[in-house]
């Protein structure tokens, strides 16, 4: 039923991140299997985004470690992680708004289009740039955005901008894609379309980890779900198990609801 491999491709052990006296992430551990779609959920303020920021190198962990394909990557630079194949997206429409759609993807292909300074200057990078452009157009076609290649991003509707954000990340050819709230602010139709895309990305051999509030989408999409609360691990398991876990219901709805859960169901 799932395409998961045995060995974890991404793993956190005892991850902790403090901001002054506040402990945003507290001794948190999880492991993502290769080829999985792995959800990270939790009530507001549970520390999901901070966890993402630590994994993706925007913050260094205060304690604990992150492993990527067995390598300790704790505290490495975001750009170095991207070069290793760990790429993240951002909440909302974080894009190069002043660029055309194609130029956004071209920046996304930064790592794939290597050339020396002199060859840039002399224009002898033309071959590698042409390849980069072709790959960029392929990426756009994958998301059905090829018609919009020359449009300025600011002209795009919100749903397309969100897809483009994912396309930019995918252009970097990640092995693990970290999606930060990919469905937020989307209508059901757009969400369905986006879910299909995430599945196709996984079929292309990319492991996906996502933070999301849309419970229905997470339950339908993910093989494994990790639930966080107050910065710590609450439950990890298959969607069905997580959905019915009293601790999860309590975290989301409060203890009164958990007591009455049997009654309501």
């Amino acid at each position: 039923m799932t395409m998961q491999g045995e060995r974890p491709i991404l793993e956190a052990r005892g991850l902790t991140r403090r901001f002054g006296g506040l402990i945003a992430v507290d001794n948190f551990s999880f492991s993502v299997s290769e080829g999985a779609i792995h959800g990270l959920i939790g009530p507001n303020g549970a520390g999901k985004t901070t966890t993402f920021n630590v994994i993706s190198g925007f913050y260094a962990p205060s304690a604990g470690r992150v492993f990527f394909r067995g390598l300790d990557i704790s505290g490495r630079k975001t750009s170095a992680l991207a070069a290793m194949g760990l790429v993240r997206t951002f909440q909302g429409s974080t894009l190069f708004q002043e660029f055309s759609v194609l130029d956004n993807i071209r920046v996304g292909r930064h790592l794939g289009a290597r050339a020396g300074f002199l060859s840039r200057l002399l224009g002898t990078d033309r071959q590698s740039e042409r390849e980069a452009d072709e790959r960029a157009r392929e990426t756009l076609a994958f998301f059905g955005l090829e018609e919009l290649a020359d449009e300025p991003v600011s002209n795009l509707p919100h749903g397309h901008q969100r897809m483009l954000g994912m396309a930019v990340a995918l252009a970097a050819e990640p092995k693990v894609l970290l999606l930060d709230e990919p469905f937020t602010g989307m209508n059901p139709e757009e969400t369905r379309c986006m879910m299909a895309l995430v599945r196709r990305i996984r079929e292309g051999g990319v492991t996906v980890m996502l933070v999301e509030h849309d419970m229905q989408a997470v339950m339908n999409l993910c093989d494994t779900i990790t639930v966080m609360n107050f910065g710590a691990l609450l439950v990890e398991g298959a969607p069905e198990a997580v959905r019915n876990d009293p601790a999860v219901i309590e975290a989301y709805l409060g203890s009164a609801a958990a007591d009455g859960a049997g009654h309501v169901a």
Binding site: T89, E129, A172
Partner: protein, 348 residues
């Protein structure tokens, strides 16, 4: 490329015509620039030399601003090039053309070192940090009389060597000749700056400006690219400084003070930094205003006041700089002729 072969010819002819038009425009520009000094008086020729040098200064500054960082130390960096080239020629007897190149190299090296503290900061903090770094360099020049000459600076800097061959003799003490030397060096530098901006490196600089976190997340080492922009910009500022030093023959710390930096900022802002030619337009127009209009009216003593007024007016009424005037005029013209596609429907 077999799969794009079908689309190539159409794009090719359009591109070729555009390229031809562009080249023709360049030929006219250079012809005008070559004729210019012969239309000017001696003192105006001297101003033209400084103007050409300032074009390189403000254009190199623009390259740094592509990454979104505005420095207050750019003129000091120019000074590093000037001092380095002057000292290499004076003290070590390095031939002047080579010392100029090494002056640019020295400016680039100083920028590379400064990158480590400065690019831990962004925006306003970078601005202030770059100002502080520049003041430290200026204090070093003032404090260490040997070799920097202290507050009085360096004098009797070796001039650019005369060219003496059997049939050709060029004396670079003549402003006309130095004008052409500066024109060649600055044109070559601008060409390189332009190529950098149009390449993927330029795209990456812009990307860092608009969304540095997103750029970083797809593998752009934003620190390295900010440093690269700073180093390239500083190299060409250093070249501008070296051109200045061997022309004027004297440099001192005051020449590279923050007052001078304000002029660079005004040129860049009034011209507009969105395009390559914006800052060049800014420095040319403001120099002409300054040297011809203000001097003729006897107002050149209140230059800072007028510059300030021009800055405020341009920010209020021309926020995208002089460069946007062209586009605006074209739009207005089209409007008068009637309809947005008036260019295609000329009366037969």
């Amino acid at each position: 490329m077999p799969e794009t072969a079908g689309a190539m010819p159409a794009a090719g002819t359009g591109g070729a015509i555009r390229q031809l038009a562009w080249r023709l425009r360049l030929v006219f520009l250079f012809a005008a620039l070559a004729a210019l000094p012969y239309l000017l008086s001696y003192s105006q020729q001297e101003i033209a030399v400084l103007l050409v040098i300032n074009v390189l200064l403000v254009s190199s500054y623009r390259l740094l601003t592509l990454t979104g960082e505005w420095s207050l130390g750019h003129v000091v960096i120019m000074g590093v090039g000037a001092y380095a080239s002057a000292l290499l020629a004076k003290q070590l007897g390095v031939p002047v053309p080579l010392s100029m190149l090494l002056g640019g190299g020295a400016a680039a090296a100083v920028a590379a070192i400064l990158s480590f503290p400065l690019f831990r900061m962004k925006g306003f903090y970078f601005l202030i940090g770059s100002f502080a770094a520049g003041e430290i360099i200026r204090l070093i020049w003032k404090r260490f009389t040997d070799p920097f000459g202290g507050p009085k600076g360096l004098k009797r800097i070796d001039p650019f060597p005369d060219i003496e061959t059997g049939f050709l003799s060029i004396d670079f003490y003549e402003p006309v000749n130095y004008y052409f030397l500066a024109l060649v060096v600055v044109s070559a530098s601008l060409f390189i700056l332009y190529r950098i901006e149009r390449s993927r490196i330029g795209l990456t600089f812009h990307a860092i400006h608009w969304q540095d976190r997103l750029a970083e997340s797809v593998g752009v080492d934003t620190f390295r690219y900010r440093t690269l922009a700073f180093v390239i910009a500083s190299f060409f500022a250093g070249i501008a400084g070296a051109l200045y030093a061997h022309y004027v023959g004297a440099v001192n710390p005051t020449r590279f003070s923050v007052d001078q930096m304000v002029y660079v900022l005004v040129w860049a802002v009034v011209g507009g930094t969105a395009t390559f030619h914006g800052p060049i337009l800014g420095v040319v127009v403001l120099t002409v205003v300054n040297e011809i209009v203000l001097r003729a009216l006897g107002l050149d003593t209140v230059r800072p006041l007028i510059y300030g007024a021009i800055l405020i007016l341009s920010v209020l009424y021309l926020p995208n700089g002089l460069e946007s005037l062209g586009t605006r005029l074209r739009a207005r013209l089209q409007h008068w002729r009637g309809g947005p596609d008036a260019t295609g429907s000329e009366p037969a």
